[in-house]
């Protein structure tokens, strides 16, 4: 029992350290994206620099054979995927703003 309690204490310390690092990473990332957004909204920069080009997409998804649909949705948007045995169906529902859907042009 004493041996197991020692091991559990070590594992508890390791888990707490991971929680701290995950929290740090998440916070730092949120601040980074908000900074870019704010700079753009305050006209400090011409854009957020956090974008991919259609060319980037075409380099990853072969547009000659694939139709590429881009979905941009506000936070907390829900995507429901139906049981494929019944239908290939997707429902996308937003509560915080309109959803933007467009096709990536072939060239």
């Amino acid at each position: 029992v004493a041996g197991l309690q020692w091991e559990l204490q070590d594992l508890q310390d390791a888990e707490q350290q991971l929680d701290t690092l995950i929290q740090m990473c998440t916070t730092q990332f949120k601040l980074l994206t908000e900074d870019l957004e704010n700079n753009f909204l305050q006209n400090l920069t011409e854009n957020t620099s956090a974008y991919v080009t259609c060319q980037d997409l075409r380099s990853v998804v072969d547009p000659s054979e694939q139709l590429v649909m881009v979905i941009k949705a506000p936070p907390e948007t829900q995507m429901q995927v139906s049981d494929p045995a019944e239908a290939f169906q997707i429902a996308v529902k937003s509560t915080q703003g309109p959803i933007d859907v467009f096709l990536c042009p072939e060239e």
């Binding site: 949705a73 948007t77 995507m79 429901q80 995927v81 290939f88």
Partner: protein, 48 residues
């Protein structure tokens, strides 16, 4: 019947759930309309 519900719109995240959706759709034994004209499964993404 909804099989999978994903909260999107968050920047980054949900990768695992989307992989689950792709597997579920890909493994479904639903008869495909274009089956006769050869495989029209979505082409996997390239890795640069």
């Amino acid at each position: 019947r909804t099989r999978i519900l994903v909260s999107i719109g968050e920047s980054f995240g949900t990768s695992e759930k989307l992989q689950k959706i792709n597997q579920m759709v890909c493994n479904s034994d639903r008869p495909l309309k274009h089956g006769a004209e050869g495989s029209t499964a979505p082409k996997p993404l390239k890795r640069l």
